[in-house]
């Protein structure tokens, strides 16, 4: 029944052209451009989440056996994101004005924000709501029409979204497509004006290759192995809590989950002791019975992880139990892992945490920089300021977080996105809006006598070129001195009035004397 439902929404391959054409028509009519329309759609999206929160939780639980609280970890940032967009949209939409120049008083220059047109958003299964709707918030705010490709990895959540979205959003501007690889391939053949995809690096390459045909700009949110370095100076009790928490949300199936740990032998011992304590106090003796641990999404991934555990040359010190019937893998820590180990090849995306031994921070940095992939997130736990500085300056990663995991992705106003193999482009908050906006340079001149005579210096015949060039260079290189600053804001006005009040006060004082 459910698969039937999906097929209905998908409409099959050949119809995508027509669907996108419809959206393009709506866009060309300018339907999505007005502020009111965008605001309205965002409000509807907010309403969708509020009115259906139980149903959404249930769908997520069906897919991932995930606890309500972890689902809240997915829905809450989304709600905040929408609320921020609603609150700030009008200020985002203001054109960026350039300062007026005293020497060219008749000219006006600014950046107009144009929506791209029809954008494609490809979501994924590990956070089916967040990773599909979060980019959508940006696309709506920027005034685009959008096609959402929902993942077939999380069928229940995708079905729920496919059912709910058309009820709340304007169906002539926003369409939903469910399905798997075939639908994605068919979709990518159609011309879009922007493609936003959250996926693996392998699929990311395919998306980018498909975007070449129409020279479509892209944002790719990919994964990768996120390293975590623990320095000997860290507070291990707190560090272990935070790290295990980050690894265990969604049972390690997060693109920014700590993938492996680098630390010294001494740190390793302390960390494992603390981790064991933490796991026991959170999940009890029988971890499988705990309601708080999500399951692996499907058989394919379960088998992949099981194989990793079988093939690793490292020593399993915590966990390592599997149960295919329940898609269960217990929280596992593996030590004595070499950099050539199977666990170090691909993103793990499961509750397995290998530890590599490195004696110093320098060695760790050398190891990180020698790896080909720049990570999506890099985590450093240390109280030593010099170590922090070293990591900050000598490594590159999508995001860098000290003494914390995961939370950088929902930090207000911070961009989120990878670099190198971990992705292209940024989003979240204002960055989402800017991702889906083309900033068009606008220059408005007039036909006035002054402008034309000033401009006439450029015309042929190029006689006395030397003098003209001298003048041009002097003129252009000093132009910025004559800019009238744009931001004469409230503080300056207040300062001005303070000046007046101050002088009046001095005057009064003097007359009083």
């Amino acid at each position: 029944m459910e698969s039937n439902n999906i097929m209905e929404v998908a409409n099959g391959g050949p119809n995508f052209e027509k669907m996108v054409e419809e959206l393009r028509d709506a866009f060309k009519k300018g339907k999505t451009r007005p502020y009111e329309f965008r605001l309205n759609q965002l409000l509807n999206l907010q309403k969708l989440l509020e009115e259906n929160s139980d149903e959404i939780d249930r769908a997520l639980h069906k897919d991932l056996k995930r606890h309500k609280m972890e689902s809240a970890g997915e829905i809450l940032p989304l709600k905040v994101e929408i609320a921020d967009a609603i609150r700030l949209l009008s200020s985002w939409m203001l054109p960026d004005k350039l300062p007026t120049c005293l020497l060219l008083p008749n000219d006006r220059a600014y950046l107009q924000h144009d929506p791209y047109g029809v954008v494609l958003i490809i979501g994924t299964w590990n956070y089916p709501m967040l990773l599909t709707l979060n980019p959508l918030v940006g696309a709506i705010a920027a005034g685009n029409c959008a096609v959402l490709k929902l993942s077939d990895g999380s069928p229940c959540s995708s079905a729920k979204l496919a059912e709910l979205l058309p009820q709340y959003l304007d169906t002539s501007c926003f369409k939903v497509v469910s399905g798997g690889a075939t639908e994605s391939v068919a979709l990518l053949k159609v011309k879009f004006d922007y493609i936003f995809a959250t996926c693996s690096s392998r699929i990311g390459r395919k998306v980018m290759a498909a975007a070449v045909e129409n020279l479509t700009p892209i944002t790719l949110e990919l994964g990768g192995k996120c390293p975590l370095y623990i320095h000997d100076s860290a507070d291990f009790e707190i560090a272990a809590k935070r790290i295990i928490w980050g690894k265990m949300i969604n049972n390690g199936q997060s693109c920014i989950a700590p993938d492996y740990i680098i630390c010294s032998r001494q740190a390793e011992e302390e960390f494992i002791a603390c981790a064991k304590k933490v796991l026991l106090s959170w999940y009890g003796k029988d971890e499988k019975a705990s309601q708080d641990i999500t399951r692996i999404i499907n058989n394919h991934h379960f088998n992949r992880l099981k194989k990793l555990l079988e093939n690793t040359k490292g020593k399993i010190v915590v966990g390592g139990n599997t149960d295919a019937a329940d898609l269960w893998i217990s929280p596992t820590i593996v030590v004595d892992v070499k950099s050539s180990d199977v666990l170090m090849e691909d993103e793990i995306f499961g509750p397995i945490l290998p530890i590599i031994r490195m004696d110093s921070a320098e060695q760790a940095i050398e190891y990180l920089n020698a790896r080909k992939d720049k990570p999506l997130s890099l985590y450093v736990f240390s109280k030593d300021k010099n170590v922090n500085k070293m990591f900050n300056e000598q490594t590159t990663s999508g995001t860098l977080t000290f003494n914390e995991v995961m939370l950088q992705c929902s930090w207000q106003e911070m961009p989120f996105g990878g670099v190198g193999d971990s992705g292209i482009g940024k989003y979240h908050g204002k960055y989402s809006y800017e991702t889906f906006t083309h900033k068009k340079g606008v220059l408005v001149r007039d036909f006035s006598f002054i402008t034309e005579n000033f401009a006439a210096i450029r015309y042929p015949p190029y006689s006395s070129a030397e003098v003209k060039l001298q003048f041009l260079y002097l003129f252009l290189s000093n132009l910025h001195y004559f800019n009238i600053p744009r931001n004469i804001g409230l503080p300056h006005v207040l300062a001005f009035f303070c000046g007046i009040v101050f002088m009046l006060f001095m005057g009064a004082l003097q007359s009083a004397c």
Binding site: A109, D292, R458, L469
Partner: protein, 517 residues
């Protein structure tokens, strides 16, 4: 024998490219390009390069395409110098970390955006402005702290060899390398993994570049071309409009990516426009434009033949010019009237001194015509009516839009330059160049404070409803506790208030006392 030596030469080339990239990556990993001083020094050296070799560079472009001194200087070298000077002036400001607002609920946490250079970047230049289009992106790449491979276009060979000769003399050769070569060499070069690719090229080559980039997931900026339309409304000052348009079309003999490509206007405007252009051309270039030293030549035979064929195939009426001379690679400034939308002149970017005029009867018709075609790199609108201008600004999308002038938006300080859709991806110039070549890394720094940990512990398992509500409330209202001002400045303001109140009280008391006395 011959084939084997050819083969070995081929592998030599690819090996040497791989070696160059490896060497640059090594220098980058050492962190040599990171300090502000290094970047400033290199920018100053680049500025010096242009200043000291001004005439030599002008001679090179004159040899390549007979570019007039005034054009070579003001549209290439001066722009380079000005961009370099601006970068030197602003770099320290650009490099500053973007601090996030302080939050009262998270007093021990610090968050900011740090700008990391990408690493080793590739810049592919073009032949029409060989110095500007290779070296202006370089300014951004240096400012951002990258190592760079520069590949100038082989079609402007003299300029390319000049770049290859001068760059190692002025810039640090361990960080900046020039590679010469044609299409096969470029393909070899693109096999290597770069961290960013910046290419100025045609749409066709742009696709090849992006295809190669997709293999390594390399982000790209593509500066492509396209047909940039001009709409002239009936109410504009046709005399001034015609001068500006024809100037934009004739610089570099139309071989400018943002040159006006075709005109949309009414029949009556067309007539007046052609009258004025005739007059202007006579005034600027004399009776025989071929004799004028101010007109550039077509870059090579291939492009000349392409343009000649376009002129032969057009069904339009040649109103001005139309003379061609193959041995001189010259085509006189040409205006073709009565052109239909299906004409040969409308099939591709012209990139030459041919200006077709299409008749439209209203601004609505013009808008429809423009919107039916790929998004242009630049759109030009001439009108005295502010509402007409706004109409186009609001309803069209293009890389840039310039009202009542052409081409000048390119050198405008503060305006980004770049296309959208078929005309390109990404933008540059000034601060935007710097931003093109940096990765903005989010950095969050938390503490191990026990008090903080007590609060954050709400997120840990075992999960319960109360904690869930606490977190929901926390996240919902977090933004209210944001402080735009830094604590230090707030404290300063507070102290200023305190001192002021003391001053007022003392002042009032002394005044009061005096009056009492």
């Amino acid at each position: 024998m011959a084939t084997s030596s050819l083969l070995s030469a081929d592998t030599d080339v690819s090996n040497s490219y791989a070696k160059i990239v490896d060497e640059l990556r090594e220098t980058f990993d050492e962190g040599r390009t990171l300090p502000l001083e290094f970047r400033l020094n290199q920018l100053k050296a680049l500025h010096l390069l242009v200043e000291e070799n001004f005439d030599k560079m002008l001679a090179a472009v004159h040899k390549d395409m007979r570019k007039a001194k005034m054009e070579g200087a003001s549209y290439e070298l001066e722009l380079l110098k000005i961009d370099a000077v601006a970068a030197i002036r602003e770099l320290k400001q650009w490099m500053k970390r973007e601090m996030m607002p302080f939050n009262l609920l998270l007093p021990l946490d610090k968050a900011y955006v740090k700008h990391d250079p990408y690493g080793v970047v590739l810049i592919i230049g073009a032949w029409n402005y060989p110095f500007l289009l290779s070296l202006q992106p370089l300014i951004g790449a240096i400012a951002a702290g990258n190592c760079v491979v520069i590949k100038p276009s082989e079609h402007s060979s003299n300029a390319a060899t000049t770049i290859a000769e001068l760059v190692p003399k002025y810039l640090d050769p361990a960080c900046f390398r020039v590679v010469l070569g044609a299409a096969p060499e470029t393909i070899e070069l693109l096999e290597n993994k770069f961290d960013y690719i910046f290419a100025t090229s045609s749409t066709r080559i742009g696709k090849c570049v992006m295809q190669a980039a997709a293999k390594h997931l390399t982000p790209v900026t593509l500066e492509l071309g396209g047909k940039s339309p001009v709409y002239i409304d009936d109410d504009s000052d046709i005399e001034i409009a015609s001068r500006r348009v024809i100037w934009g079309k004739c610089i570099n003999l139309g071989q400018t990516c943002i040159a006006p490509d075709y005109i949309l206007c009414s029949k009556s405007t067309e007539k007046r426009f052609i009258e004025h252009v005739k007059h202007t051309l006579q005034e600027w270039y004399g009776q025989d434009p071929q004799k004028s030293s101010d007109l550039t030549r077509i870059i090579n035979n291939q492009n000349f033949l392409r343009l000649q064929k376009l002129l032969k195939d057009t069904k339009g009426r040649i109103a001005i010019g139309g003379e061609t001379s193959e041995e001189d690679l010259f085509i006189s400034p040409t205006i073709v009237a009565d052109v239909k939308a299906t004409d040969s002149l409308m099939t591709e970017e012209l990139f030459g001194p041919i200006l077709p005029i299409l008749t439209v009867n209203s601004k609505e018709e013009a808008l429809k015509f423009i919107k039916e075609r790929p998004k242009p790199l630049a759109l030009y609108v001439f009108s005295k009516n502010q509402r007409t201008l706004e109409y186009f600004i609001e309803k069209t999308t293009s890389g840039a839009i310039c009202c009542n002038d052409v081409v000048v938006q390119n050198g405008w300080e503060g305006l980004p330059f770049g296309g959208v859709g078929d005309s390109g991806i990404g933008h540059y110039h000034g601060k935007y160049s710097y931003e093109t070549f940096v990765h903005k890394k989010s950095v969050v720094q938390r503490s191990f404070s026990k008090v903080g940990e007590k609060i954050y512990a709400a997120r840990y398992p075992p999960y319960n409803n109360w904690n869930m509500k606490v977190i929901a409330g926390f996240m919902k209202y977090l933004h209210i506790f944001e402080m735009r001002a830094r604590p230090v400045t707030l404290f300063a303001t507070f102290m200023a208030g305190a001192i002021a109140s003391v001053a007022v009280t003392v002042g009032w008391l002394t005044g009061f006392k005096k009056r009492n006395d």
